[in-house]
């Protein structure tokens, strides 16, 4: 439907304008849709966290507090923009934009529906991670230019975490790329089309796909600096990390960049493992494809909100150990499992071998990592 609408709008313009009108429509659609989703998600997140923490959450503005993001946005725009006197003015000004622009760029390659990828390039996965890599620079710029110790500490933590978790994030996508044999996201989605009986051919329903999906989601949570990996923000430790010196709309831009980045990486997870815009059951294909994509997106976002409300924050050494000692070997073993899957004939044996490999390695690795740890119940001297 939206594809034909776009074609109709392009048709309205004179032919010589087509080269400029076509991208503008795509860009406007992406920015409008995901900025709207951002507004909706902030209120859902606050409501959800409120429910988990046994309080109300926003409920004053509009019915059920649904207009809260509008009020927040107006407040952010009317606030005074304070820049610290010692701050590096130019870098301090540019940093929020460097964060937001790549986040939106990353969304451009994700197919949100049938024929609904803004650009389908041959190296889509590479493009996604290349633009994702530039957010680290933005985090550093924000933290360093503020001339604040807490900002700098937050930026250092953020960069260390992002660099570490980028490795398992990319390695967990390698298994999918190996099976599909293409870096194009549209091809990856098409490879997951079709149904056996009523079940879809999603990669998450294979042993290596499930392991890869879980690894990808953990790394993605860390990559978008969300709880339990929100050390760079750490309200109780370093106030708010790298954006502590930002106020007004620049702060809102950081918030926006973080959520858009979260949507982008979740969209990537959907594309790689959850069959993109394909319907989950064969008799549900009559529902439009974009409904499925955004439905899956909401499910993943809800999962992240749930995780945020449930798990406590990690310590920095736990974070690094987890990335390098657990995630990295698991991702490498997952690549091996995917390779075995690719070369063995389809059937029960293939399933059993891959599943055994992944679960067995998980078991051995977990026991090896906990072997020398003396884990007992923690005793509090005064609290009990």
């Amino acid at each position: 439907m939206f594809v034909s609408l776009k074609a109709f709008l392009v048709g309205l313009m004179p032919g010589s304008w087509e080269w400029i009108v076509r991208p503008i429509i795509s860009v406007a659609a992406i920015i409008g849709t995901f900025a709207g989703l951002f507004a909706l998600t902030t209120v859902l997140e606050r409501k959800g966290l409120g429910r988990i923490q046994n309080r109300y959450g926003p409920n004053r503005v509009g019915p059920f507090g649904i207009l809260q993001p509008l009020a927040d946005g107006l407040k952010a725009m009317t606030k005074e923009d304070i820049v610290p006197r010692a701050a590096d003015k130019i870098v301090h000004f540019i940093a929020p934009f460097i964060l937001v622009v790549p986040a939106f760029l990353a969304l451009a390659v994700i197919p949100v529906g049938r024929n609904m990828a803004a650009i389908d390039i041959d190296a889509g996965v590479l493009f996604f991670f290349a633009v994702g890599a530039s957010t680290e620079m933005a985090v550093f710029m924000a933290g360093w230019s503020s001339r604040n110790k807490y900002s700098l500490l937050g930026a250092m933590r953020g960069i260390a975490q992002m660099v570490s978790y980028e490795v398992p994030l990319i390695l967990s996508t390698v298994s999918v790329i190996m099976i599909v044999g293409s870096l194009s996201l549209v091809t990856i989605v098409n490879a997951q089309a079709g149904y056996s009986w009523i079940l879809p051919h999603w990669f998450v329903l294979t042993p290596w796909g499930l392991a890869g999906f879980i690894l990808f989601m953990i790394a993605a949570t860390a990559e978008s600096n969300r709880s339990p990996f929100d050390l760079p923000e750490g309200e109780s430790e370093i106030i708010a990390g790298y954006y502590v010196e930002y106020s007004g709309f620049k702060f809102a831009l950081f918030f926006l960049g973080e959520y858009i980045g979260m949507f982008a990486v979740n969209g990537m997870a959907i594309t790689l493992f959850l069959g993109g815009w394909h319907a989950p059951l064969s008799f549900l294909t009559w529902i439009p494809s974009y409904v499925w994509f955004f439905g899956k997106l909401f499910c993943l976002v809800a999962l992240l909100i749930w995780v945020r409300g449930t798990l406590p924050r990690l310590r920095i050494d736990q974070l690094m150990n987890f990335a390098w000692k657990f995630m990295l070997p698991m991702a490498l073993m997952n690549i091996l499992a995917a390779a075995i899957w690719y070369f063995m004939p389809a059937g029960f044996v293939r399933w059993a071998i891959c599943l055994g490999l992944v679960i067995g390695f998980y078991y051995v690795l977990g026991h090896a990592l906990f072997a020398h740890k003396n884990l007992t119940k923690r005793v509090y001297r005064y609290a009990e």
């Binding site: 870098v91 493009f127 991670f129 290349a130 890599a133 620079m137 250092m156 960069i159 870096l183």
Partner: protein, 165 residues
């Protein structure tokens, strides 16, 4: 030479010059990152997608961050007093100009330039992957082994020795 190339080239050269001349070392690192990104854009304009994206991923995402970390961990990051030019900068410029002139002369006299520019191949990323995994698999493995050895060596140097009293 198209307008796009001119803008990118200007941006890249300007930020490279800025990386050399700015007073604040962190600003230099950021300008260097812009220069890397400009180079990547030029690769993309030549429809070398893999090289372009790998350039951003490796240089902007990793090398620039590494430089910045090194600056922050080794010195305060405050701007240096005095001139950024070293005493012998005229000699340096002379040598650079001479090298540039020699390179230009070599390139202009080579026969490669006279050949017609071939059409950019389609699905280049896939071809690179195939070549890497079939024809050039041994060099790839050797490079991987070398990098792993370097990594282990770096860790060994950085590791705190426990036996020391």
């Amino acid at each position: 030479m198209t307008a796009g190339f001119a803008i990118l080239a200007l941006l890249t050269v300007a930020s490279a010059v800025a990386a050399m001349t700015l007073r604040n070392l962190v600003h230099c690192a950021l300008a260097l990152a812009v220069a890397f990104a400009g180079l990547a854009a030029i690769y993309l304009q030549l429809s070398a997608q893999f090289v372009g994206f790998a350039q951003i991923l490796v240089y902007v995402g990793a090398v620039a961050i590494l430089i910045v970390f090194a600056i922050l961990l080794t010195r305060s990051g405050e701007p240096v007093a005095g001139s950024v030019f070293s005493g012998s900068w005229i000699a340096g410029v002379g040598i650079a100009a001479a090298v540039f002139a020699v390179l230009t002369a070599m390139i202009r006299s080579s026969r490669g330039l006279a050949r017609r520019i071939p059409e950019p191949p389609q699905a280049a990323v896939r071809d690179i992957g195939d070549q890497m995994m079939s024809q050039y698999v041994l060099p790839l493995e050797v490079v991987g082994l070398l990098l792993t050895a370097a990594l282990i060596g770096a860790v060994l140097i950085a590791m705190r020795e426990k036996d020391r009293p």
